[in-house]
């Protein structure tokens, strides 16, 4: 006997499946709150899956709380695996999602954490328009459920439409994280978060494994620095592979590691945060801030995101969809910032047109890094919907 999944009055969009191989024939006991609507569907799905793995004799108990087919499939697969049945890849659902790679420097202001073994949070996550969703295999999954979460996350990557959000997975710490990759990499994941990264070797190991599983297919890597040691090696980690799209910081574990309380002002982690921003910038990649964890504090969320932006971070993590628009607002360039950037970009264009080597604005010389920053501000303003993409063409009309 081996079971998987959850049931009970508080469970939604999940199911519990118990497989007891033996006896003669296949016997299903289905309890479901949608039995009258989907009972036949569910029984057909289970029977087809059993036929595919060649399971002919078993009793299967299902307690269903309105699970969608990809969840039922994952729970059944986990229960079968736990009962020692060789499932192979027979139960991998067909892919609905596209497998194209994301842009290395795409906007990553918000990444919404979704606990990897809690399917009801997956279904509408993309509707809230985060820049990315993270299917988490690490801290939000109990050690005894790691196998179940892998199957569920794989199925979610294949079956759930996350709309425009970048599809990220946070794997477990190495070495377990390397095994996680085998489950998720061929299934449309676009970026891997590597937790508690402390050395460039760890990042390289993941990178090599990614290449081995799916050669020639770009899956970006975002190491999370959450220890004093990781902080010390931030520069080396950022440069470990061209597939590293950014460095993220995890302040909860970092402050614990250096033995201090995390405060809302964040002064205790100022050095770490600045070091990570600088290490990332030195390699021309993104710097991503920590998670804001107070669900009901919208104002605090805005302040935290604004503080992160002011330190040089490109985005933050969030644990609740309500934080997404607040963070997008905080990370959007301000009006002054945009108009200044427009002036600089126009001056640069004018200088290039005239073949001048030096860009000047209001009789002041503008350095190359300032031009580059202005171009980034313009790009972000357009992505955030604060600036019309054709602003240069309309300049004369607007002004």
């Amino acid at each position: 006997m081996a079971c998987a999944g959850r049931h009970g009055p508080e469970v939604r969009s999940d199911c519990w499946i118990n497989v007891e191989p033996g006896g003669s024939g296949l016997h299903l006991n289905l309890e479901s709150k949608v039995k009258s609507l989907y009972g036949t569907h569910i029984e057909r799905q289970i029977k087809q899956a059993c036929a595919r793995v060649g399971l002919k004799n078993a009793r299967i108990d299902i307690k269903d709380s309105g699970a969608l087919p990809f969840v039922i499939s994952a729970r059944l697969e986990t229960a079968l695996r736990r009962s020692g049945i060789n499932v192979g890849s027979t139960l991998v659902p067909p892919a609905k999602a596209d497998f194209t790679a994301s842009d290395k420097d795409r906007l990553r202001r918000t990444r919404l954490y979704l606990p990897g073994n809690t399917p009801h949070l997956f279904l509408n996550a993309g509707l809230h328009e985060p820049d990315a969703i993270i299917l988490d295999l690490e801290d939000s999954v109990a050690p005894s459920e790691k196998d179940a979460a892998r199957v569920l996350v794989r199925n979610a990557l294949l079956a759930v439409d996350f709309y425009k959000a970048e599809r990220m997975v946070r794997i477990n710490q190495l070495p377990m994280g390397l095994d996680d990759l085998e489950w998720i990499v061929p299934c449309g994941v676009q970026l891997i978060l590597l937790p508690k990264c402390e050395s460039p070797d760890q990042a390289r190991l993941v990178d090599e494994k990614l290449n081995a599983i799916n050669p020639g297919h770009a899956v970006w890597l975002l190491p999370i620095i959450e220890s004093a040691r990781g902080c010390f090696y931030a520069f080396e980690i950022a440069g470990a592979s061209p597939n590293i799209a950014g460095l993220a910081v995890g302040l909860e574990d970092y402050t614990a590691d250096i033995g201090v309380q995390r405060t809302s002002s964040g002064y205790e982690s100022l050095w770490a945060q600045s070091r990570i921003v600088n290490a990332a910038r030195a390699h021309g990649i993104q710097a991503i801030g920590s998670v804001f964890s107070h669900v009901d504090d919208q104002e605090g969320c805005f302040q935290a995101a604004r503080a992160a932006k002011n330190l040089g971070f490109d985005g933050m993590g969030c644990i609740h969809p309500r934080h997404i628009p607040v963070m997008h607002d905080a990370f959007a360039p301000g009006e002054d910032e945009i108009s200044r950037a427009k002036e600089i970009v126009l001056a640069f264009a004018e200088a290039q047109e005239k073949g001048l080597g030096v860009v000047s604005l209001n009789n002041k010389m503008i350095d190359a890094p300032v031009v580059k920053r202005a171009q980034t501000v313009i790009r972000h303003a357009i992505q955030a919907g604060r600036l019309n993409p054709g602003w240069q063409d309309n300049t004369s009309e607007v002004e």
């Binding site: 939604r12 969009s13 709150k33 949608v34 009258s36 609507l37 989907y38 009972g39 036949t40 569907h41 799905q45 709380s65 309105g66 699970a67 969608l68 087919p69 279904l123 509408n124 509707l127 809230h128 609740h320 969809p321 309500r322």
Partner: protein, 516 residues
């Protein structure tokens, strides 16, 4: 049971519980004739000259009312899940050995599940009122002897005044009353707000019993129900638990998906130009509707707009808007939380009234058609924009109609609903039970986009050029079925009609069948 097909294409019986009924004929098509029913004439000579109508207990009051087998008894739901009177009333009726009562509540709740014992024992013959929770299951499984009749709050008044339902004894739970029977819901330890639903029963019942736990010296003011209409007053230790008024469907949602629906609804209302100075609105009791009010408030503040009136069921959100000058007047039949209870008592611009003033369709106009926007829930909407609020896709009775049908007459009716719940599609081919005809359902807002009834070309024009996520209802249904893994099986129901849904004019809109 002889059935006909009504104007909405639904099969409905022509007799219900032995009484002839009209099939639905189309919106506004059935016109009543004749005169309203009256209550019996009485003489002061038969009532105590000192005005003291107090009797020792409910049983005595029932005896003196002449309670006998087969009578119709009504109660009201101002306490929602906190009602302590209906169960106690039927304990008394059972002890008196009386049988076959028709219970005519303004709504029943899960707290009334113990009454199933009296349905089983024959004390109650059948219920005509909302069938929620365990009572809904009991009825859906065909266990009730009579046919349940579901009416809107306005339809309940209409049924009483038109003489469709004759109430023998009305039992009114009143948080404050004097010995003469003047009473209100505003004061006392069990204050619950307006007693609007009891107004009709006080007007039309043969006998009226007021049950209170707070007897005050004469005169009890304001007298929401006048003592002139009351036969007996009973003092008990406790009539209801006001804290439980908030239970059930009256809490703001915390679900991000549902908050998104509420926010989209407010954005739609703003983009369509419905939020302008002097506009009026009404929201249902569901979590999404309440959250909509919060977003609406933000929109009004941002644009410096005030509303002329809010039609309630009110709660703390419109109450705060009233206090801060964003709403001029709240017109209220019932309070959904304790802040609303206090406001009806203390704020002269918070008006307590009944479904006659606001909802009754057989009157000289009602307030629903004056309302600019109503935001409501639903269990299902179909591709034609017909809506269901009483059963789920499995055919089981789950909810009452409440004021829902009456509110459909607003100038713009929005159903703010998820496109699926767990695995249950809400956007369906055909509603299981027709509760709201498509002509009156203007907009459906879901987490996956906004559908506008093609009949409302004015609304479609009004939002042209906005960034609102419009979606064709067929394409939405396709998406939902794709997520849920195909179309659900049709409900497993038989031929036996266990309940009917009445339209606001008393005609029969649809039948509800026994689940197998």
């Amino acid at each position: 049971m002889e059935m006909v097909v009504n104007a909405a294409g639904r099969r409905v019986p022509i007799r219900i519980n032995g009484q002839a009924v009209f099939p639905f004929q189309g919106i506004g098509q059935y016109k009543p004739t004749g005169r309203m029913v009256g209550r019996p004439l009485r003489s002061c000579a038969d009532y105590p000259a000192d005005g003291d109508k107090v009797v020792p207990d409910i049983k005595t009051a029932l005896q003196q009312c002449g309670l006998r087998d087969g009578m119709t008894i009504s109660t009201h739901h101002h306490f929602r899940e906190g009602d302590l009177v209906a169960n106690r009333l039927f304990d008394c009726i059972a002890e008196m050995g009386v049988r076959d009562i028709r219970w005519f509540p303004s709504a029943a709740f899960v707290c009334h599940a113990p009454l199933i014992n009296y349905l089983e024992a024959g004390v109650i013959h059948h219920i005509e009122g909302s069938m929620n929770g365990p009572l809904g299951d009991y009825c859906s499984e065909g266990k009730m002897r009579g046919t349940a009749v579901l009416r809107s709050h306005g339809g309940r008044w209409q049924a009483l005044q038109d003489g469709e339902v004759h109430v023998d004894i009305a039992v009114i739970a009143a948080p404050a009353a004097d010995r003469f029977g003047n009473c209100n819901g505003a004061r006392g330890p069990s204050a619950c707000g307006p007693l609007g639903y009891a107004e009709a029963d006080a007007q039309f019942a043969d006998k009226v019993i007021v049950v209170t736990d707070h007897l005050v010296p004469f005169p009890c003011t304001p007298w929401h129900i006048q003592g002139q209409l009351v036969d007996y007053v009973v003092l008990v230790d406790k009539i209801g638990i006001p804290e439980k008024i908030v239970a059930g469907t009256t809490q703001i949602t915390k679900s991000p998906d549902r908050l998104r629906i509420a926010e989209l609804t407010a954005k739609f209302a703003e983009a369509a130009g419905l939020i302008r100075n002097g506009f009026s609105f009404q929201t249902g009791a569901g979590g999404i509707s309440l959250a909509f009010t919060k977003y609406l408030e933000e929109t009004m503040r941002r644009n410096k707009i005030t509303a002329s009136f809010y039609l309630g069921g009110s709660n703390q959100l419109p109450v705060r808007m009233l206090e801060e000058g964003l709403i001029d007047t709240i017109i209220d039949i019932q309070a959904f939380d304790l802040q609303a209870v206090c406001s009806t008592r203390d704020n002269p611009h918070h008006i307590a009234c009944g479904p006659f003033t606001t909802y009754n369709y057989h009157g000289k106009g009602n307030f629903n058609t004056l309302t600019d926007i109503a935001v409501l829930g639903a269990t299902q909407v179909d591709l034609e924009y017909n809506a269901n609020v009483v059963t789920h896709s499995d055919g089981r009775l789950k909810h009452g109609i409440g004021g829902w049908q009456n509110c459909l007459f607003a100038k713009c009716t929005v159903l703010a609903i998820p496109s699926f719940r767990d695995r249950i599609p809400v956007i369906v081919d055909k509603v299981t039970t027709l509760t709201g005809p498509a002509e009156l359902v203007d907009v459906v807002v879901t987490e996956r986009g906004i559908c506008i009834n093609p009949r409302r070309t004015d609304l479609l024009d009004a939002i042209k050029g906005t960034k609102l996520p419009l979606i064709d209802i067929k394409s939405l249904q396709h998406t939902v079925q794709d997520i849920c893994g195909g179309a659900p099986e049709p409900p497993h129901v038989g031929e036996q009609v266990v309940a009917v849904v009445k339209w606001v004019d008393g005609t029969v809109l649809d039948s509800i069948y026994r689940v197998l």
